[in-house]
Assembly symmetry: C2
Homo-oligomer: 350 residues x 2
């Protein structure tokens, strides 16, 4: 409860009767300090429980070791896992994590980015909201010389400007669709997400490519965009009302797939017998559903971890005297997905 002042390098200097610069050097083991002096400093620092004041250090070095992480939702497991991955890697490298969540609102995303900039984070990791169509805020971070890494929900136009971590969405969607076809489903529908999300587009591409590959004509009424989980049920209903309803649904992600499974169950529609369902995400929760959900697994924690690594790489690049004036080569890491076979897409043998 008492407000005892923390010991500073001045205190150490005074007690050892040396200058603060020497103490400072010793403390961050600079090359040019006498070994014994350093030992003394270190010993006293230990004894007096000295703790470097990051604020002061940051003030002069212009590095905060703070990383801003911005996601559209905090309660969606995918992002929870991704953030865990980010946090773990950042932690290993001595960085801290500042969180901003946007609730899928573009305005809050802008605010978050601005807040991060104002706060002088060393970098930003972001997965954009579903309404993000203007990239001014991201460009501003760039102008402030703050590296940005995007993951999962990336923006293709910015691929050369920022590093990215994604999965091969087209490929994953292809596999999901092909899996349904190979398991005997003929009329495959796809409940997609918001149109402007790149992941929606890529997954649609994969879906269409699979249909084509198997010589199944694409039917536009089988492709529905929905506002993620909130109206997944409505979308499903719409599909069932079709003159010729689909016999399988590939969902943009697991939250949507869960809603679909639930809705079909309410209606008494049998899954997988009458309708097959495949999701995308690979939320471990899918295993617990009845029937368990077939899904395309995205390595969420790994995605976060890779994003953090890319970011730190870029930060180091711009602080390394040898490379700081060279342009940084932005890369896009594409992680593999994996088909997790559940029972929602596998009819029992005849």
């Amino acid at each position: 409860m008492k407000k005892k002042r923390n010991t500073t390098i001045k205190d150490l200097a005074r007690r050892l009767d040396i200058s603060v610069s020497t103490v400072s050097r010793a403390l961050r083991d600079a090359p040019d300090v006498n070994y014994e002096t350093k030992q003394q400093v270190l010993a006293l620092a230990e004894q007096l429980n000295y703790k470097r004041n990051m604020l002061a250090t940051s003030l002069v070095s212009k590095r905060t070791y703070n990383i801003g992480v911005i996601v559209p939702e905090l309660s969606v497991p995918f992002f929870g896992y991704a953030i865990s991955g980010i946090q773990q890697t950042l932690y290993e490298y001595g960085y801290k994590m500042l969180i901003g969540h946007t609730s899928e609102q573009f305005k809050l995303e802008q605010d978050s980015v601005q807040m991060m900039i104002d706060n002088q984070v060393d970098g930003i990791i972001i997965s954009v909201s579903k309404d993000t169509e203007d990239y001014q805020h991201l460009h501003q971070a760039k102008e402030e010389d703050i590296p940005v890494v995007m993951f999962d929900r990336v923006i293709p136009e910015l691929q050369q400007v920022f590093s990215n971590v994604i999965v091969d969405d087209k490929d994953g969607a292809f596999n999901a669709t092909a899996h349904l076809i190979e398991h005997g489903y003929k009329r495959i529908a796809h409940i997609s997400g918001p149109k402007n999300l790149y992941i929606s587009q890529k997954r649609i591409e994969g879906y269409k490519e699979a249909l084509e590959m198997y010589n199944i004509g694409f039917q536009s009424e089988y492709l529905i965009h929905c506002n993620l989980r909130v109206d997944a049920a409505t979308a499903t209903e719409q599909l069932l009302r079709l003159p010729e309803p689909p016999d399988a649904i590939f969902a943009i992600n697991d939250p949507v797939a869960f809603e679909i499974l639930h809705y079909l169950n309410e209606l008494g529609v049998k899954v997988p017998e009458e309708i097959g369902v495949v999701g995308y995400t690979g939320d471990p929760m899918g295993r617990l559903f009845n029937p368990s959900l077939t899904s395309i697994r995205q390595p969420s924690a790994m995605m976060g971890s890779k994003a953090a690594e890319l970011l730190i790489k870029e930060i180091n690049h711009k602080h390394n005297p040898a490379t700081k004036n060279l342009p940084f080569e932005h890369s896009t890491i594409i992680l593999p997905t994996e088909l997790i076979t559940g029972r929602s897409s596998v009819k029992k043998r005849l």
Copy 2:
């Protein structure tokens, strides 16, 4: 990409030919500044896109407006919602959120707290890990004069030292158990969590109290502790092996309940006909299960929000010259729970 220096109060002072102190005063509208001077400063600041450097401010004021939030898991929806609530409230008050997650490991919890302290956060909001039995790290925060607020997973011994936000766990558990009894179940088991978690204890109390109230004898073999979701299935199996297996299970939380539902389903045990199940948390996901899960709903986002409010209140208290020397009255906010009736505990009428 170019590293243009940000404008500082010195720049403003120079351009207006006044002193930095005046600028400083104008910028944070101190009482003693001439109105017109202030307007000029503000205008120029706007024009030059001046942004206060928080690091410098923090260095002198000793306030960072950073709040550390430490949770055992990031991928558990309950904490996701709670963090959303925390974040939203902190944001309203101009605070930022630093996140630490412990993966339920005590060591990481200690590290997190230490990191927060080193980083001079203005306060800490924490829900402890299941292995936390030593409170030294929390006391240390106290010694550094950093307010701490605990939520959900609190520590009763520290109730007078910190503020807390919880639900009435005993009451909730009572209601869950009573609900099962009133729906015709006779042999109610309880799969509890780690023994040293206070919430486990309180929920057990509520469970026992309900049994007593309805004159049902407590049977120790019906009470099993499990390591949260990882061995919920094992615990269930153990119950089913009993000479006289229970006909209902009250689970410590929803993740465990989900595992139970899944496990029973795998075995072909009918829920709710053969066994009734009730969870605790009120995860919206429970609605999607088949059968939907009856659960005790905790207002997760609200808990987070309240925790943030309590914390900010305490921070303000210690910075307000009028109150800073008075002891702060720690309070424990107890939020109400609500029984969400699903189908997992309601047998169809005979």
